[in-house]
């Protein structure tokens, strides 16, 4: 015999000092922050207080451009389109939503961030990335 058992619990995850700076920059200044690793020089986006690759410290936050190239994308029917965007100035790609029908997208396409009207200090303050005219690879 089966019985359904709901679990309904609220959680709140600390973004930490650097994570908070990234989210506040989205909210207040529509800026996207990365961080540069002092050991391997890679620019991580979103900004992180350490470099996942070599474990080095990343004290220096840098501005990353709100536009870049599409590294990959996928459409989940009924849930929208997701993409990985290599933003100008970052060595890593940002995973985010893509705004537009699936026919729009191709690897290498030039895309730009569109910020939400209502911004609350969340990664969703970027509504998604849209194709730039003439941005065809």
């Amino acid at each position: 015999m089966n019985r359904s058992g709901p679990i309904r619990i609220p959680f709140r995850y600390a973004a930490g000092e650097t994570g908070s700076r990234f989210l506040v920059a989205l909210r207040d200044d529509q800026r996207i922050l990365g961080s540069r690793c002092t050991t391997c020089e890679r620019v991580q986006c979103p900004a992180s207080s350490f470099c996942p690759h070599c474990g080095g410290a990343t004290p220096e936050t840098v501005d990353v451009q709100p536009e870049g190239n599409l590294v990959s994308w996928t459409e989940i029917p009924g849930r929208g389109v997701y993409g990985l965007v290599r933003l100008e100035g970052a060595d890593t790609a940002l995973l985010h939503r893509l705004l537009g029908p699936s026919t729009t997208w191709a690897i290498g396409l030039r895309v730009r961030a569109r910020f939400a009207e209502e911004r609350t200090g969340s990664v969703c303050d970027i509504e998604g990335f849209e194709a730039m005219e003439g941005g065809r690879p």
């Binding site: 089966n2 679990i7 309904r8 619990i9 995850y13 600390a14 969340s122």
Partner: protein, 150 residues
């Protein structure tokens, strides 16, 4: 000092739990106010809740024995701290009484609510009895709580 942000995410999912054969029979029994335990052929221990195997003897449990809905209060407490009920997301009203009850015919105890929440009137060794809800659904909360017998 930069602002410290936190990201709120609420988990709201539901699992389909399988009872297993032994627990299914136990739950059906509750619907008829019948409580049954499984007795181990090795050590003779009468287990509540019923389960596939005795952990000590590592033998499958197959022998059902009847258990009463009265028993001995082995331990009690009055919980004052409100706890968020994980199933509803609401906070459970407190204070509430809780006890470990060894039902007549079982060798393990059952942790359940006590209607009594006055420490002075609770003592280990008291006889307690289950209070069943009107409409029995075949689940442990068919027993609302235990009351202290006079």
């Amino acid at each position: 000092m930069t602002e410290r942000l936190t990201v709120p995410l609420t988990m709201d999912l539901s699992w389909q739990y399988a009872s297993g054969a032994a627990m299914e029979r136990f739950c059906n029994g509750l619907q008829a106010r019948r409580i049954e335990a499984l007795r181990c052929g090795g050590c003779g221990r009468r287990y509540l809740p019923p389960r596939p195997m005795c952990g000590d003897c590592r033998l499958r449990l197959t022998q059902w024995v009847p258990v009463g809905d009265e028993g001995r209060l082995e331990a009690w407490t009055i919980v004052h701290l409100p706890i968020l009920d994980g199933r509803t997301g609401e906070t459970r009203p407190s204070p509430y009484g809780m006890g470990l009850i060894r039902l007549d015919g079982a060798d393990t105890t059952l942790n359940h609510f006590l209607v009594e929440s006055e420490p002075a009137r609770l003592r280990i060794g008291l006889r307690v009895k289950a209070v069943w809800r009107k409409e029995l659904l075949g689940a442990m909360d068919d027993i609302l709580h235990f009351e202290v017998l006079p």
